[in-house]
């Protein structure tokens, strides 16, 4: 059954491998996926370890409903202490790896130590082997997977791998699977690279038993229809996340020229519909009917003829708006390069845009760039810098270190132009007009982030009764809620609620496009309770799921606190407060975030979590949640 998948402990230094069952009790407390990984991290990573040393521990997991009839339950979670931020590192990705891991008998992998030479793991039907990867070290993401299939003689192998950026320990290197399923942010690829672990190849043919098959089939069909009937899903299915870029750029909610502007003007050449012309169909993750990834072949230039998937919202942001380039081929080629190098789009794009602003301000000169003209608008420079960062050449070696370390190396007042939180670059969106989104970015557990607590539906001006319907269950809430996205009132609860919502989906292994992220009528706690029961037989009420999510988000917070995080880290850079937005529709122009009001929102947000004014979980809240004795070392 879906509950009998095991946890494996793999020590790369000694070669020792142990497996254990995961008790139903632990499932009920932490569910699985990211939730259980939060527990494992707090229990297995010793405080203060160097993220790129053998002392760091990497966790790879499949969510509880992966491989079952829960629509879009395909997510893999990877966690470790982040080499980028020094805090909680985590990434959640789609594709086919997590289902294959479950077919092979495992839900969680705990990877310790460091292999003496380049290695990979081969996991198949309950067996785990550490194998020599010297032949595949140095290969890109797609060649690595093809080489593994060749070597192991099975075309259906799924592999989670690092690219050259991970080998070079670029601090925001990704883990990747298939062509473009990217486990980005926080540098999980660098952690695997530091362990000499090139890839994890899996293949499984073990049954995942469905507890109530006929009910699960019927309910899955209902959930699928609920999701695909929504216009936002249909747009996703046609344009992928590019459609969000089109919708938000027209209002002035994106970043251009390293946050100097909040809109890319004259953007006709790179609107989503232009990309659609190069797409020859869509592809999707395991069991998903939304299919949000375009399939394209690069039409011209140096990379002409290469197949890749995407691009995404962030691709236009990183490769067009931020460097101020309006060229489709550059976006498609850059998307391909970061996919194959295995490097985070948001971070790479932000670092290059930052370097471009430093070049504009004269802080970086041609001497620093090795003769490269880093002017905004120079599309060749964007492509060249991607290569240099991934291979750590010249200025690329400095930018590969991430916002804070790079700013320290470059010096002068370069830090002033960094758009980051906790040392991780912000998404290519502008949150100055939207306090709720700004609070989410400031407080997200893995550093600046839009996928941990963003109440994106705040942008829809939903009527207050609709908001109340969504945000007052399963945990009761009677405080204020406001429809206007420029307001501060009631937004802290929306952020807090979304944080638990996203933790729940990340623990179940369901995609965020199948919950309240872009669509207000999408499945949430009520539906998950039924999905869990029909598929696994486990009885968890909506409130039980909420409570499990609360425990896990709190443990992530405790991990961060243990690593030295304080209230001042839950904060935005000065430009959010001091430089008003210049462009966009009238309601968005001239906006900044108000420091005092943000402080008040943070106080409220801490309060909901049972944290004190410094953001530290109070002992009585921990006791109430049953996690006051952590670490308990049960797994």
């Amino acid at each position: 059954m879906a509950l009998n998948r095991k946890i494996a402990y793999i020590d790369l230094t000694t070669g020792k491998i142990e497996t254990k069952p995961i008790s139903v009790k632990m499932r009920k407390i932490f569910i699985g996926g990211r939730g259980l990984d939060a527990y494992l991290m707090y229990n297995h990573i010793k405080p203060g370890v160097d993220a790129l040393s053998p002392d760091n521990v990497a966790f790879i997991s499949a969510g509880l409903l992966v491989g079952t009839l829960a629509s879009a339950s395909a997510r893999t979670h990877v966690a470790a202490k982040s080499p980028l931020t020094g805090y909680f590192g985590s990434t959640n990705m789609g594709g086919f790896f997590a289902p294959e891991l479950r077919f092979a008998g495992f839900d969680h992998l705990v990877i310790k130590g460091k292999a003496a030479k380049p290695s990979y793991l081969w996991i198949h039907n309950g067996e785990i082997e550490i194998r020599n990867a010297s032949k595949i070290w140095g290969k890109g993401v797609r060649d690595t997977q093809e080489a593994l299939r060749e070597e192991l003689g099975d075309k259906d192998i799924k592999a989670l791998t690092i690219g050259i950026a991970g080998e070079k320990m670029v601090r925001y290197a990704n883990v990747m699977t298939e062509i473009k399923n990217a486990g980005g942010r926080t540098g999980m690829g660098a952690v695997l690279g530091s362990k000499n672990l090139k890839a994890i190849a899996v293949r499984g043919t073990m049954d995942i038993k469905i507890a109530h098959p006929m009910e699960a089939l019927e309910y899955d069909k209902k959930i699928i229809s609920q999701v695909t009937a929504a216009k936002v899903s249909q747009e996703q299915g046609r344009l992928g996340t590019l459609f969000i870029w089109g919708a938000t750029n027209s209002q002035g909610l994106v970043r251009a020229r390293n946050f100097q502007l909040n809109q890319l003007e004259e953007s006709d050449a790179i609107e989503p519909e232009e990309f659609e012309k190069h797409s020859f169909g869509m592809t999707g993750c395991y069991g998903c009917q939304v299919h949000c990834r375009g399939k394209y072949i690069i039409p011209d230039g140096e990379y002409k003829g290469i197949y890749d998937e995407g691009p995404e919202y962030t691709s236009i942001g990183a490769w067009a708006a931020e460097p101020d380039c309006r060229d489709i081929t550059t976006v498609l080629a850059a998307n391909h390069l970061v996919n194959d190098y295995g490097m985070d789009t948001i971070e790479t794009g932000s670092m290059i845009a930052w370097a471009m602003e430093l070049y504009e301000k004269g802080i970086l000169t041609e001497k620093d760039t090795g003769g490269l003209d880093l002017s905004f608008g120079n599309k060749e420079a964007v492509i060249e810098m991607i290569h240099r960062i991934a291979r750590r050449q010249g200025l690329g070696d400095i930018l590969a270190e991430g916002p804070l370390r790079a700013a320290k190396k470059i010096g002068k007042d370069s830090i002033k132009y960094q758009i980051h939180v906790k040392g991780m670059s912000n998404l290519q969106s502008d949150e100055r007009p939207t306090p709720s989104l700004a609070l989410g970015v400031a407080t997200a557990s893995r550093g600046s982030d839009h996928l941990r607590s963003r109440p994106a539906i705040d942008l829809y001006h939903l009527p207050e009764p609709v908001l109340r319907q969504i945000y007052s269950q399963p945990a009761p809430y009677e405080g204020p809620l406001t429809s206007e996205y420029t307001d501060y009132e009631g937004k802290s609860w929306m952020v807090f609620w979304q944080e638990q919502c996203y933790m729940a989906v990340d623990s179940l292994g369901i995609c965020k496009y199948h919950t309240i992220f872009l669509g207000p009528n999408f499945p949430n706690f009520q539906e998950w309770s039924k999905l869990i029961y029909y598929n696994t037989g486990l009885e968890m009420s909506p409130l039980d799921i909420w409570d499990a999510a609360r425990r896990a988000t709190t443990l992530e917070r405790m991990f961060n606190i243990r690593e030295g995080l304080t209230r001042k880290d839950d904060w935005l850079v000065d430009r959010y407060f001091d430089e008003p937005t210049k462009l966009g529709i009238p309601i968005i122009r001239g906006r900044t975030i108000d420091r005092d009001k943000l402080h008040k929102m943070i106080d409220e947000y801490y309060g909901f979590g049972g944290w004190d004014e410094n953001g530290v979980p109070k002992p009585e809240s921990l006791k109430k949640m049953g996690i006051d004795k952590e670490p308990t070392h049960l797994l």
Partner: protein, 163 residues
């Protein structure tokens, strides 16, 4: 009216939901080895092709079966298996030109599409239009129109080029 499963691989997104619902419906478990439809994928080309029994009129699997365990069910226009006669020799698996007959190593039996007795779940769940269950005699119509349109466009383009 006899219906048939029509596959349009250009519409397939490769999500494998068809595999999953097939396996769960027939076996109560999800296992890609135990479904009656499989998606063949070429990841680096973006090519995904659902492969399933074509319910051949003159079926090689029926001809190859040494115990007459495979036979046609004319009511639904499908090939069925009489498991009382089947000896599990797997000759049909090899004989099928589409590789559409699977060997289930758990149940130790050959499995192939039974059209879910007239309501195939794969087609019901596939919202992309890649798998449809439609009248056999009109199965080619949309393809015919698409080809006709292309033919028309190319003729028009050729005429304009000459002019």
């Amino acid at each position: 009216m006899q219906k048939t499963l029509v596959i349009d691989y250009e519409k397939c997104t490769g999500c494998r939901l068809c595999e999953m619902v097939c396996s769960v419906k027939h076996e109560g478990v999800n296992n890609p080895l135990r479904c009656r439809i499989n998606i063949a994928k070429w990841e680096t080309k973006g090519l995904m092709v659902p492969m399933v029994c074509r319910q051949c009129e003159d079926a090689p699997c029926i001809a190859a079966c040494p115990t007459n365990a495979r036979l046609r069910d004319e009511e639904l226009g499908r090939v069925i298996v009489n498991y009382d006669r089947c000896i599990g020799c797997k000759t049909c698996v090899i004989a099928c030109p589409f590789g559409a007959i699977n060997w289930d190593p758990y149940a130790k039996k050959v499995i192939s599409c039974d059209l879910c007795d007239g309501e195939p779940l794969c087609a019901k769940f596939c919202e992309t239009g890649a798998i449809r269950y439609i009248d056999s005699s009109t199965a080619n119509k949309s393809q015919q129109r698409e080809a006709a349109e292309k033919l028309y466009e190319s003729t028009k383009a050729a005429a304009e080029a000459v002019r």
